[in-house]
């Protein structure tokens, strides 16, 4: 046990779903019904789950990749060249941090990631891991005490099949879009959260998650249900740079909030953005949507997107319950050759539903950053209100910022406000800071962080500090 790493511990959880009659732990590239059956069998899934996947696959085959409307340019993806299942791999174990790539180590230090955390991320086997394990166990006990279910998705299928069956695909249907359909057919794992009625989750589901995050995988599936009067804050991602040999990522996240429930979902995304020429970066096509199914429910998305070569992502809220509230706070930073087409959809259906959108786009170097947001007020949404603020900040003259707001109002009592600004980091601002002794890089960081303040302050405190540093690190070399 002392030498057992967290990676092993994490993978051990996954073993619960495995059956032993299939010996292969990798499939040949390509996608077919057989591959889907194979994945499902690997997970030991019940028949309804297989059927659900096959249904998604059938739909996906009839769909075309949405290549035309997003302001993104990338070469065609060969879906038959992708390998859709490989057993979780153990990371190469290092004996100490000294063996770590010095560049990665410097980045960790700049981000202010603790030594223990660095070791965990790097897969260093040390005693410190021991502590993390006991912490994780303590968390797990505490959560169980409250009746909270928080486990890998593949485990939830066995542990609480009725919940999974009831809610899976209820917010993002299998045929919602090309990438969501693909995910539905082939997803391998993810997270499942259920908060029982009236329970306020006693901790950010971040700490636990971060300890367990090892291989998040290419096709991740997350389902979070907050029952009546429940409250939960969930944190996804990590500020540490993440690499993955899989270039295409297509995750799906579904949130469901019943009466008086609140879900806060925060993301920091720092996938490998590719080199200065744009080679090798991750393509991130994500479908995230929350349904405020109950009265007075609330779903709040906060995202800090600094990684990936391509980001295609619109965390949205369906405001079905009367008096429900949707929020979207976003910082998207593109540098190098990164492209982001991101924003949100706020669908107002219930009466007196309210939504807030605050989007901050930062473009540097050759980055291209688009905000795309829809506010739809449906006919029955009496007294609905929306406030949108979309600001873009340009650093340098080779980058671009674009705003595509869509507004559909079918109810005359609705109030919708939209503000948008585009500004360039002023020479005057930079000079002012430098005249006070700050380096150009520090000055840019300060100005950028000031620009993002309204979003960053939505993040849990510790994470906000890391995210601030991350913005600085992501802009390195983009200035001057």
């Amino acid at each position: 046990m002392p030498n057992e790493s967290l990676e092993q511990l994490a993978t051990r959880d996954y073993e619960f779903g495995f059956t032993t009659d299939i010996e292969m732990d990798i499939v040949e590239p390509g996608l077919s019904e057989d591959v889907i059956r194979f994945i499902s069998a690997k997970k030991g899934e019940p028949a309804w789950m297989v059927e659900w996947r096959l249904e998604a696959f059938a739909r996906w085959q009839k769909m075309v990749e949405p290549h035309h409307w997003a302001k993104l340019s990338y070469p065609p993806i060969d879906y038959q060249a992708i390998r859709y299942y490989a057993a979780p791999k153990k990371k190469i174990q290092l004996d100490s941090l000294d063996e770590l790539d010095p560049e990665l180590r410097r980045t960790y230090e700049k981000l202010g990631i603790s030594l223990d955390e660095q070791k965990r991320l790097a897969g260093v086997a040390v005693d410190a891991v021991f502590d993390s394990v006991s912490v994780a166990t303590t968390f797990k006990k505490e959560l169980e005490k409250h009746g909270i279910i928080f486990c890998p998705f593949s485990e939830a299928v066995h542990k609480c099949p009725e919940l999974v069956r009831q809610y899976l695909g209820s917010v993002v249907p299998v045929n919602d879009n090309f990438f969501a359909a693909l995910n539905s057919a082939v997803f391998t794992d993810g997270s499942f959260v259920y908060i029982p009625p009236g329970v306020r989750c006693p901790m950010e589901l971040s700490t636990y998650f971060r300890i367990n995050a090892s291989e998040t995988g290419q096709f991740e599936r997350t389902l979070i249900i907050a029952d009546r009067g429940a409250t939960v804050s969930y944190l996804e991602g990590c500020t540490a740079p993440q690499r993955d040999e899989n270039q295409l990522h297509a995750a799906v996240v579904e949130l469901i909030a019943l009466d008086d429930a609140t879900i806060k979902y925060s993301t920091v995304q720092n996938w490998y953005p590719g080199d200065a020429e744009g080679k090798g970066g991750i393509y991130n096509f994500v479908t995230k949507r929350g349904k405020c199914a109950g009265k007075r429910s609330k779903i709040s998305w906060t995202q800090v997107e600094t990684g990936s070569a391509i980001t295609w992502k619109y965390p949205s809220c369906i405001l079905l319950g009367d008096d429900s509230v949707g929020e979207f706070y976003s910082v998207a930073l593109t540098s190098k050759r990164q492209q982001a087409d991101t924003g949100t959809k706020m669908i107002h259906i219930g009466k007196r539903t309210r939504s807030t959108i605050v989007s901050k786009g930062i473009s540097a170097a050759h980055g291209q950053n688009s905000y795309r947001g829809l506010v739809r007020i449906q006919k029955g949404a009496d007294g609905a209100r929306n406030y949108s603020q979309c600001d873009s900040l340009l650093i340098g003259s080779e980058c671009g910022a674009h705003t595509f707001p869509y507004l559909e109002v079918a109810n005359p009592t609705a109030k919708v406000e939209h503000e948008a600004t585009t500004s360039k980091i002023g020479e005057d601002q930079l000079f002012y800071c430098r005249q006070r002794g700050l380096s150009e890089e520090d000055a840019v960081n300060m100005i950028v962080n000031g620009f993002c303040k309204r979003v960053l302050k939505q993040l849990p405190m510790e994470f906000a500090v890391e995210a601030q540093k991350l913005l600085g690190v992501s802009l390195e070399g983009a200035v001057g």
């Binding site: 002023g426 020479e427 601002q429 430098r434 006070r436 000031g450 303040k453």
Partner: protein, 255 residues
């Protein structure tokens, strides 16, 4: 003789493409306060910007030595850390960055360069409170974003507060009196006077004599057409006030 604080020799400099300074000579010793006056467009602000190293302002010929070192070799932040401070005519707003945080970062950047221990938040707060008294500045302005929504007077107070915190060797005050009412002017001048000392030099750039009633200079220089056309004691400022700039321009044209 000791090395002067600032030694400008036959300085020619451009702003953008235009040659603005056409042969400035000026020597400032530690402890001295020099006023530079002149009509609009005479090159006053260009001189300030050249000293601070603002991008877009280029030295074409001549030299500027700060404590004997060639200033043109230093980046703006290096000049600031070495002890050159510019109080801006139009202080810039930085949304979302609290004034307190900004000042702390600046002070610590300068302290780090000078090999002094950096201040933590509490230590800085204490220092800031003490200096804020100099310019009668309220706590409220410290928690707001840098200069955002500040009145003209508040912005200028903030400049002098920064000067007090950064403890420069050479302070260049660029039209610090512009846009101030008489009460604000008095507060600012008191703050500046409190910062005068035997090791600090000041270059006070102004269009009007009235600032010099409050900050009494040791020397007055008149800038016209990119050159210093007349230098004298503080009485020269009064003479200018009385006669306007016309006679000097006429005199220098004739001479």
């Amino acid at each position: 003789m000791t090395t002067p604080m600032l030694e400008i020799r036959d300085l020619h400099a451009t702003a953008g493409e235009t040659l603005i300074l056409k042969g400035i000579d000026l020597v400032i010793q530690p402890g001295e306060v020099h006023a530079v006056m002149g009509p609009n467009g005479s090159g006053k602000s260009t001189l300030a910007n050249v000293l601070a190293g603002k991008p877009g302002y280029e030295i074409v010929s001549g030299s500027v030595l700060f404590e004997g070192r060639d200033l043109s070799l230093l980046a703006p932040e290096q000049r600031a850390r070495e002890g050159i401070f510019l109080a801006f005519q139009y202080p810039v707003e930085i949304p979302g960055v609290s004034n307190m945080y900004f000042l702390k970062q600046a002070v610590n950047a300068v302290r780090a360069h000078r090999g002094i221990e950096e201040l933590d938040a509490m230590e800085f707060l204490q220092l800031a409170r003490e200096k804020m008294k100099l310019v009668e500045m309220s706590d409220a302005l410290m928690s707001r974003s840098v200069n955002e929504g500040f009145s003209g007077g508040e912005k200028k107070r903030n400049e002098i507060l920064q000067m007090a915190l950064l403890d420069p060797k050479l302070a260049v005050l660029d039209e610090t009196d512009s846009g101030l009412d008489i009460d604000a002017l008095r507060v600012i001048a008191n703050g500046v006077n409190a910062l005068r000392g035997p090791t600090r030099a000041m270059l006070v750039i102004t269009h009007y004599q009235r600032l010099l009633d409050h900050i009494v200079p040791d020397f007055v220089h008149v800038l016209s057409g990119g050159r210093i056309v007349k230098s004298g004691a503080k009485e020269l400022a009064l003479e200018l006030e009385e006669k306007g700039y016309g006679w000097i321009q006429a005199e220098s044209a004739a001479g």
